[in-house]
Amino acid sequence: MAASLVRSTLGCQFARFLRPSLITAAGQTQSQRGVKRYMRAYLKELYNRRLRVGPEKLRHRSEFMNWNYNAEIYAFGKRLGEEFSNDSLQAAFTHRSYIEAEEARRADLGIDVASAPLGLTDNSELTQKGEETASRYIKAYLRSSYPTMFEEAIVAIHDHLMSDDTLSHIASHIGIGDLMLCSDFPPEESTLSKNFLAVVGALETDKGVKRAESLVRDLVLAQLVGKELMELWSVTNPMGLLMAVLDSQGRGPPEPRLQWQAGQRTIMAVYQVGIYSDKQLIGQSAGERVTIAEDMAAQDALQRMMGIGSGHMPLTFRTEADKMELRYDPKNISAEELMQTYELRQKENSVS
């Protein structure tokens, strides 16, 4: 065990002393005279020293010799397949915290900041711009992709996509982490996600809204592929909402029916409930109890209404998406409003 640890930490050039034979480049085994037993103590000491020193300090990539910031910035734009202007990209990567830290450093050195300005602009403006564009486009894209989806669900999916979690994941996987000029290291999630939005804002400044929107689509909206959308939006009362929706459409009220059951009075019990409206099956699901199955069947019916089941069309990207007609302004039907109108109508009916 110890020998294998020593070998793995120190590489094979030392390890060969521990073995009586070694394999040459040609694949033949070449014998060595004896085991160099004196090496063991030496390697063990090296290994223990390494343990005592602890792991290597995490260093910023720019501290290494092979680092050219201008080349890295240029490559970043090219990597995304976009033509950024150098100034806007530079601004997008500069955070307020970096400028403050730099000014403080200069003040410490006795340099007058007013007479020798840094000449850097921070990315707060670009971030705001990018956030507005991304937010507006995500909602518009979702509305046109899912015309029958409730506005609440669209907002929930939008919030998931615009969360620090999602955006920082995207930012770190397109190489923003190394390029950011900020005081926190390792970078925080919020800094990364703001920087990504600043890149979107910079692209909008340079190449217009269309290019920025296509970047948001290709990087942010693509994260929805393979996700269960109903998990992003939690419906508190699916059956109530279903009643309201069917009522607004002038269809009969939902009628849950037990379709199948098996293994009652065992821990593997399963019940399948179908929900019918005007004798038409609108949703069905299985569950370990009848109430659970009914709840899930109502969710299934809502899912089918919104067109987000596994049998529906996938999201569109590339040229297809460019042709798509976007609905920026008119919002989709709101589930809450539907419920309220339904309740009002119920009250009126009960009074009359």
Partner: protein, 183 residues
């Protein structure tokens, strides 16, 4: 070593790459070589002949060339997922260096492990998963069992056995009626 101890994984697409646009995952590559020793000859040739073409074709990858004295040459590739790959180009001719660089360029940067499956799909079935209640005749839900009419072989016309039994006035063996009459 048991099979479980060997690292394995499913195919993974980092960041849904290529769905919208393709982003080359190789973010920077450093060519380390010696200016004098013969083991770096091929790497030096590669830098002279092909490196400029490579950078022109891949503007999204930053290339660093780093001379090191009296050491065997190697390439270090850094990927967007934060991993590094190192390839020794000792004694390699220039075209072999080309091949290795191409290998590094086209990789996702994920560690090479045993793949459990060579494909991956988000929707294994658009029809949904099969379950025992699928496509079952709804009339069965209201049937009370035992129901002998469901068990026999379904024939459109009478079989010869049926006709003989009918002639003899004997009930069919194994039917529920005969079983209950025995009791």
């Amino acid at each position: 070593m048991s099979n479980r101890a060997i690292p394995n994984a499913f195919v993974k697409n980092v960041l849904q790459n290529g769905l919208g646009r393709y982003i080359c995952q190789l973010q920077r590559v450093t060519l380390n070589f010696c200016k004098a020793t013969p083991s770096s000859l091929g790497t030096r040739d590669f830098i002279e002949k092909y490196l400029v073409d490579f950078t022109r074709e891949n503007p999204g990858t930053v290339v660093y060339v780093k001379p090191i004295r009296n050491r065997a040459p190697f390439l270090v590739a850094e990927y967007l997922n934060g991993r590094q790959e190192r390839v020794s180009t000792k004694d390699m001719p220039a075209d072999e260096v080309c091949k290795w660089l191409e290998h590094l360029r086209t990789r996702s940067g994920a560690q090479i492990v045993n793949l459990r499956k060579e494909w991956l799909t988000n929707t294994p079935s658009t029809q949904g998963v099969w379950h025992p209640f699928l496509n079952k005749n709804p009339s069965l839900a209201g049937t009370s069992f035992p129901a002998p009419e469901l068990y026999g072989a379904k024939t459109e016309s009478k079989s010869a056995t049926d006709m003989v039994l009918e002639e003899a006035g004997v009930k069919k063996v194994g039917s529920v009626d005969s079983a209950s009459s025995k009791e």
